[in-house]
């Protein structure tokens, strides 16, 4: 027990508290900027069982803040790479790595295996899924989120307290709110917020009074100011969630993350469909194989007409409507979509060129 002696010396922890930590089971969703410090401190503290779920791979641009990884982890799955590093930090605990995305099909069964859920994700879709699944399984959620120099922290769904939806009932529908991987972030900010999340987890485990429930803590790294905002529980909303199956929230993609494809490359691909989302009758008209036209305004109700086995090359006139169509397609699990550079005019020009 030498490993935990500095904890055991604390009156608030002691031998009994350390046993509580050893018996705790914590699931960390997202092993990125927030997840790394959470995992490090919970591993070091001796949390008995840790789950890590992340389907992402370690990239060079992560290393500025995701301190569990090194250059030797590049290209590896984050959950697996984190587990490897953490097992060296503390071999006496059990660590489960799930190299998949949290989804409506695995969330409930996974949450049931753990007693506390940590939200360290980087997208709204998963944040709302965590919230709803935690309400259904009655698990507290230690929430952290960051933007550039600012962080938010709270504990939701703790002892029947307010949930994330009591603060933000629905995901935002403006693309600017979506976290682009291109948005900058001060490297130390997720370390601050993530360490505060680890602190809240330990307070819950040790039953220390003062868990950050019913309040949102807003931290600004530039000014070092902290604002606490009170959140009231929305019973009606929570009851709605309790009485409906988990739903997949529509999550907008950062438009810069939409994959673009050139006409030449698109035409060389096998098993693709060219999906034209312009209104009927717009010029130039296209005559080609594997072509389908569904105007953007009608796409949501006509998704069943689209072949799910093909790659989808989406096009319009200028490239904006096709981006919007791709958002809708991705929200509906059409994951293999590309935006055609140059749209219909470029495609027509290439087809004419090829015909000569």
């Amino acid at each position: 027990m030498e490993r935990y002696s500095r904890h055991i010396l604390l009156n608030e922890v002691g031998q009994k508290g350390q046993e509580k930590i050893s018996n705790a089971r914590v699931l960390v969703v997202g092993a990125g900027g927030l997840g790394c410090p959470v995992l490090q401190y919970l591993t070091a503290a001796g949390v008995g069982e840790l789950g890590i779920i992340d389907d992402d791979l370690v990239e060079m641009s992560n290393l500025q803040r995701q301190v569990l990884y090194g250059t030797s982890s590049l290209g590896l799955n984050k959950a697996e790479a984190a587990k490897k590093r953490l097992e060296d930090l503390n071999p006496s605990i059990i660590i489960h790595a799930y190299s998949e995305k949290l989804s409506i099909s695995n969330a409930i069964s996974l949450f049931e295996k753990y007693t506390i859920i940590v939200d360290g994700t980087d997208n709204f879709e998963t944040r709302y899924l965590i919230n709803d699944a935690a309400i259904l399984t009655k698990r507290p959620v230690v929430y952290g989120a960051i933007y550039k120099f600012e962080g938010q922290l709270s504990v939701f769904n703790y002892n029947d307290g307010p949930s994330y939806r009591c603060l933000f009932p629905e995901p935002p529908q403006n693309p600017e709110a979506v976290n682009c991987s291109q948005v900058g972030v001060l490297g130390v900010l997720p370390a601050i917020i993530g360490s505060m999340q680890a602190n809240e987890v330990l307070k819950i485990i040790l039953e220390i009074k003062g868990v950050l429930t019913g309040k949102l803590s807003c931290y600004d790294a530039k000014t070092s100011n902290v604002h606490h905002i009170k959140i009231t529980k929305n019973e009606r909303l929570i009851n709605e969630i309790k009485n409906r199956p988990l739903k997949k929230e529509v999550s907008l993609l950062c438009t810069s993350n939409i994959q673009e494809i050139t006409v030449e490359k698109a035409l060389k691909k096998a098993n693709v469909i060219f999906l034209d989302v312009r209104e009927m009758g717009e010029e130039p008209t296209l005559e080609m194989d594997n072509y389908q036209q569904i105007p953007l305004s009608k796409i949501s109700e006509n998704l069943y007409e689209i072949n799910t086995d093909s790659e989808i090359i989406v096009l319009c006139q200028g490239g904006e409507r096709s981006k919007n169509a791709i958002q809708i397609l991705i929200q509906n699990n059409f994951n293999n979509c590309h935006n055609l550079k140059g749209g219909a005019p470029a495609l027509l020009a290439q087809l004419k060129h090829n015909a000569v």
């Binding site: 600017e176 807003c218 009231t232």
Partner: protein
């Protein structure tokens, strides 16, 4: 009376300030929002929650505080 308006995250960038004062007589939170949106037409009323005196409030609530904060959701992790 003067109300102190605080902007968080992307809202502070859009308004180019972290806080500012607005002169307001009486009315609802939504009336203050109108003044703010007139001053900053690039803000969208659906992109944030409103806290009055450090408590999240409905926009139909009457203004009885001296501080109103606009909080956007953050997705980053």
């Amino acid at each position: 009376m003067n109300i102190n308006i605080k902007y968080f995250g992307v809202l502070a960038e859009k308004t180019a300030c972290q806080e500012e004062q607005i002169d307001f007589e009486s009315g609802k939170v939504s009336d203050v929002m109108k003044l703010i949106l007139e001053r900053h037409p690039n803000l969208k009323p659906e992109e944030f929650q409103v806290a009055q005196n450090k408590l999240i409030v409905d926009r139909e609530a009457s203004v009885d505080g001296t501080e109103i904060a606009l909080l956007p959701p953050f997705s980053g992790g």
